[in-house]
């Protein structure tokens, strides 16, 4: 945009000689392209010995009536030219390259496992659940016995454990928190119980889909009347909040010693749905069931008055599906090339 276009002329009573002067000045300004030329034009018209100053000096010699008109016109012209020439001069003096590149981003990241744990616990918080955590070194009783997994229970086969002493081990499931936490809450009269328990778990296995340390999340609800239908509803809500409502759930029978009846939950993306992450066919998502009366009893809770349900799942699998991560071991390799791919939302 030429500078002259930025100023709207407003010179009703301008004398013919001033009009000429103005035209000349604007033209001279528009042809001055270098800062030096512009400075020259500016001095010529606005300098102390410039054209306008000379005109001002002549004012006293004009008749009083005309002097007022010419004076105000002259002032207006001076103001116009000053504005025009000063702003333009400034801009042309400041060389700013607006095409400069951004700075390299220097932001940190929250680990993707922490991110999904926060997201999962947030969903359970929406259902009035409280977040609970516990020790990672637990007793055999906490991890197994209290959950109906006696010393010779065949289901222990799938829990190849890191024992530290005969009685202490790294927990193989976050369910190890369950009985102690229920007992504590019941004793303090904090009923009903709605708790969600994320954390690290450990098993003696390592390959592309197993890591000796991995994460699980458990949820437990105990009340005088909460049913398998509630469990189904709560988990359907959880799945849809996590992956979107284009995901369907399927409950099928399974066996867990600490729930009765027990089920496994599968999820599947419907049709061409492009949810968050994608997996073809049914995907095993987690295990659940109504808490076994013996387990409630071990927490000091009378199963004739209270009943409850429990849910547990591994965290890495849905995370890997969501972000298309091919190998579990990438998660705990902690390369910045990996971590930087998952900036915190």
């Amino acid at each position: 945009m030429p500078p002259s276009a930025m100023t709207k002329p407003n010179h009703k009573s301008e004398t013919p000689s001033l009009q000429v002067l103005r035209t000349e000045a604007l033209q001279a300004w528009s042809t001055a392209t270098t800062p030096e030329q512009q400075e020259q034009v500016k001095n010529h018209y606005l300098g102390r010995k410039g054209v306008l100053a000379a005109q001002m000096k002549e004012l006293p010699g004009i008749g009083a009536e005309e002097r007022a008109t010419v004076g105000s016109a002259l002032n207006a012209l001076k103001h116009e030219l000053t504005t025009l020439m000063s702003t333009a001069t400034q801009t042309s003096k400041r060389l700013v390259d607006m095409t400069v590149p951004q700075y390299p981003l220097q932001y940190g990241t929250v680990h993707p496992v922490s991110q999904i744990i926060e997201e999962m616990t947030q969903i359970f918080k929406e259902l009035s659940f409280e977040v609970v955590d516990g020790p990672e070194i637990v007793t055999d009783d906490e991890n197994f016995e209290s959950l109906n997994l006696g010393p010779d229970h065949p289901a222990r086969d799938s829990h190849d454990s890191f024992f530290i002493t005969d009685n202490l081990l790294l927990r193989t499931q976050t369910t190890a928190i369950q009985v102690g936490e229920m007992r504590r809450r019941f004793a303090k009269g904090e009923m009903p119980i709605r708790i969600v328990m994320p954390g690290k778990t450990y098993r003696r296995e390592s390959d592309q889909t197993h890591s000796p340390m991995f994460h699980q999340i458990d949820a437990v609800m105990v009340d005088t009347q909460t049913t398998f239908a509630d469990l189904k509803g709560a988990l359907t809500y959880f799945v849809q909040r996590l992956f979107g409502d284009q995901v369907e759930t399927r409950f099928r029978p399974h066996h867990f010693p600490f729930t009765e009846p027990s089920a496994e939950i599968d999820i599947r993306w419907m049709g061409e749905a492009t949810g968050r992450g994608k997996h073809t066919g049914w995907l095993e998502f987690g295990g659940c069931g109504m808490i076994h009366p013996e387990v409630l009893k071990r927490a000091g809770i009378n199963p004739k008055v209270y009943q409850g349900w429990a849910f547990g799942m591994g965290i890495e699998r849905p995370l890997m599906i969501r972000h298309h991560i091919p190998d579990l071991r990438l998660l705990y390799g902690n390369s910045l090339h990996f971590l930087d791919q998952f900036p915190q939302p």
Binding site: E130, P212, P261, P293, Q307
Partner: protein, 789 residues
């Protein structure tokens, strides 16, 4: 468990196709992992009858055969030594694709073989993908219509499902058990397998006794003796079913024991009667003596411990490891003409213990350790007798000897319809309940409008309480028919867990400050400890590590972080990392640590300043007082005398250290070698927290910011300056102050530094005059100018 649908249909009349039936199993009891359709596997192969078989004119070892294939005959050149006229054989016509056990798939083409055109190929089992080695082609042992598909003639057009059976359902490790499930979810009639009818008062030529030392360890032990003509192979139909289920055929006796196991779920074992006879034929079950040994069928000598169960002969010599494997000296051989069949119920936990200790798992132990049905032993023997009579011409020569405890009461479980509704959130009708439970083998001695009593079948020893019965109902009735509702009930506002909330806040604060959160496997090797100069005694050793890399539990997050700095994150010279998680110390303590690591290629002081700022910010976020620092004891991986103790409200909560040059070098960190680490006990930190955040009045009078730069000896510790300044600054005039710059180098003289303090002048009660500010400024300069080391 591999389930043959053809076999299953011996017991239940279901026409449901393989994959669909697999889906039904999945939704009612057992996950289907995969299935094999034998019609697809053997597609294109047909049965032919060898009509002529002549020597090849141009080759000694080849034959030229005429094979009838129903709709005509084909000339086929065959190199098998066993081909002969009258045989029913498997024919691959040109165009048929073969998938042999070994090697690449290939397609049969019509081709001239030494001048004779061969219109196909006669096949051996291995050539059609069935893993049975042989020297010749496969010959059917009974006539069939030429032209029939091989899938039909050899494998009953079978579909075999691979089902994952949960450990509580050993009854489903059998075709009859799975047929019962089908009869329940398809509401069909169940047929039992045929068993031998034994005359009860017959006298026997062989006196067979069994004795069980403890019925707690062996609930039931049954046996019978049989004589049989020369031992031969079992008929193809039996071999074929075993093969489909993944069991290798051996001979008629062994095949029958395996067949009955797959059919009824009861493992059987056959002893050679002559080899276990001794003075008297008496089998016993007892616990092993200290240091006792047994040589098993696999040739291995096993050292036993008391508690391991043994089968012994009349002379008390071990002849088998109970429930796991037979002995080498007692088994059936090619010369065997009389056998003793054993059928027992061992206590699952005993078998499991021994099997795990010896690392010996077999089909039998896999079943026994889950706890079998004692009612099954004699039935399985009678089924085996029936089959051996039929296929091997066997004759029973003893009574069925049987030692068991009687009167094991089955529970009577009361279930009310209200309880079903209360637990599931849905009503299942009385009619549905009754039908489902009866089909599953329950007895229902009482059944009223309000509920019923259920006696579980003998094979369901896992069913003890009402909830177990309700699970049976819902799994057959269908989980998919249950409504989905959200929990209701009394209001109880969830209480935030401060630990969790602050952990989250700290995580996001540090990430926003440019640090990356890491999560490491909290394991390390002894070498990793050595690199950190940490003694092995100061870490928790795992007695049963997975590998050398998991020999110890990490006593510090620094271990994983430093390893990364020398490897995956080597190129990031300016880097901040943090981790929140448990670390472990002997004997078996765990502590939740927040570890912050700053790595720089600038000065160590630069890293220290960054970490101190971060700690200050963390303190703000978790709402605890500003951390303070005192000189502290060094950590093994720290530069000596460069460790600070971190205090919050007078409580020691962690350490701030400079990682020593040797440790940095040991981790092969070549650039960005100034590494400063803060390790905080997160539990102690957050214990100090308070919820209080109260408003402080804003400044009402003008603020004046003035800098003061003074030249000081370079060696002067900052702490000295800070202490002096804190004393000299008049808090009535100065709202806050801090160091903005520390400068060393030209144009300053050597051994000096210029420190700039920025003071924010502001009084609570008046506007400060220039004179007041100048006076304070001058006094401060005076106080600081002459500080010495």
């Amino acid at each position: 468990m591999n389930v043959s649908l053809a076999w299953l249909r011996d017991f239940v009349d279901s026409s449901t196709k393989g994959p669909e039936l697999g889906e039904r199993f999945r939704m009612t009891s057992s996950e289907m992992e995969r299935y094999v359709d034998w019609s697809e596997k053997l597609a294109g192969l047909i049965i032919g009858k060898v009509q002529k078989c002549a020597a090849h004119p141009n080759a000694d070892r080849l034959k030229v055969t005429e094979v009838s294939i129903g709709h005509g005959t084909r000339t086929i050149v065959c190199g098998a030594p066993n081909v002969a006229v009258g045989q029913y054989v498997v024919v691959a016509l040109p165009g048929t694709a073969l998938h042999p056990v070994d090697g690449e798939p290939f397609t049969i083409k019509e081709a001239a073989i030494r001048g004779v055109t061969s219109q196909g190929m006669l096949c051996a089992l291995e050539e059609i993908g069935v893993p049975v080695p042989s020297d010749g082609i496969f010959v059917l042992d009974e006539p069939v219509e030429p032209g029939m598909t091989a899938a039909q003639a050899l494998f009953e057009n079978d579909v075999v499902l691979d089902l994952e059976i949960t450990p509580n359902r050993p009854d489903l490790l059998s075709h009859t058990g799975l047929a019962r499930e089908v009869s329940a979810f398809e509401r069909r009639r169940l047929t039992e397998p045929s068993i031998a009818m034994l005359e009860s008062r017959r006298s026997h030529s062989v006196q067979l006794d069994v004795r069980v030392v403890s019925h707690k360890e062996c609930l039931r032990y049954s046996a019978v003796a049989l004589e049989l003509p020369a031992l031969k192979a079992s008929p193809w139909w039996m071999q074929s079913r075993l093969l489909r289920c993944g069991v290798r055929p051996i001979n008629a006796v062994v095949d029958v024991t395996n067949y009955v196991m797959l059919e009824l779920g009861q493992p059987l074992h056959a002893f050679d009667m002559e080899r276990v006879k001794g003075n008297k034929l008496a089998l016993g079950v007892r616990s092993a003596l200290p240091k006792e040994e047994v040589t098993l069928l696999d040739g291995g000598v096993r050292h036993l411990a008391p508690g391991d169960l043994l089968i012994v002969d009349g002379a008390d010599r071990p002849i088998a490891l109970a429930g796991i494997m037979g002995g080498a000296s007692s088994g059936v051989t090619d010369e065997t003409t009389s056998i003793v069949l054993e059928s027992a119920t061992f206590a699952g936990s005993m078998i499991r213990k021994t099997s795990r200790r010896l690392g010996l798992r077999t089909e039998a132990s896999h079943r026994f350790e889950k706890g079998l049905d004692p009612e099954l032993t004699v039935r399985a023997l009678k089924r085996a007798i029936f089959l051996l009579e039929q296929i091997a011409g066997a004759k029973v020569v003893s009574r069925i000897a049987d030692s068991c405890i009687h009167g094991a009461q089955r529970p009577r479980i009361h279930v009310s319809f209200d309880r079903i509704h209360q637990l599931l959130g849905v009503r299942i009708t009385a009619a549905d309940s009754k039908q489902i439970l009866l089909k599953l083998g329950f007895q229902l001695p009482t059944f009223t409008k309000s509920g019923f009593e259920a006696i579980p079948p003998s094979w369901r020893r896992d069913i003890l309480i009402a909830e177990d019965v309700i699970e049976e109902l819902i799994r057959i009735w269908g989980y998919e028919r249950l409504p989905s509702t959200l929990p209701t009930g009394a209001v109880k506002a969830p209480q935030p867990n401060p630990q969790v909330e602050y952990r989250t806040n700290v995580r996001h604060t540090l990430a926003a400050a440019g640090l990356h959160e890491t999560i490491h496997q909290p394991f390390c090797s002894v070498q990793a400890l050595q690199r950190l100069h940490v003694a092995a005694d100061d870490a928790v050793a795992l007695p049963n590590p997975l590998s050398a890399e998991t020999a110890f539990l990490s006593p510090t997050h620094v271990q994983g972080m430093l390893t990364d700095l020398g490897t995956v994150n080597a190129e990031h010279e300016e880097l901040g990392l943090f981790e929140i998680g448990h670390i472990f110390t002997p004997p078996h303590h765990e502590h939740e640590h927040l570890t912050i690591l700053i790595r720089t290629s600038q000065t160590a002081e630069h890293a220290v300043r960054i970490i101190k700022s971060l700690l200050s910010r963390v303190a703000q976020v978790v709402n605890v007082p500003e951390p303070t620092f005192k000189k502290g004891e060094g950590l093994p991986y720290a530069e000596s005398s460069h460790t600070l103790d971190i205090f919050v409200a007078d409580q020691l909560i962690g350490k701030l250290t400079l990682v020593s040059a040797e440790v940095v070098a040991a981790h092969k960190i070549r650039r960005g070698r100034e590494i400063v680490v803060a390790e905080l006990d997160f539990q102690k930190l957050t214990k100090q927290l308070s919820d209080n955040k109260f408003y402080q009045p804003l400044p009402t009078y003008p603020i004046s910011v003035r800098d003061l730069t003074i030249q000081l000896p370079a060696q002067l510790p900052h702490a000295t300056l800070e202490a002096a300044a804190s004393k000299a600054v008049d808090q009535k005039l100065v709202r806050s102050w801090h160091i903005t710059d520390i400068f060393l180098g030209k144009p300053l003289p050597p051994d000096t530094k210029a420190v700039t303090l920025r003071l924010t002048y502001n009084a609570a009660d008046r506007t400060l005059t220039d004179a007041e500010i100048k006076a304070h400024h001058d006094a401060l300069e005076q106080a600081l100018r002459n500080l010495t080391v």
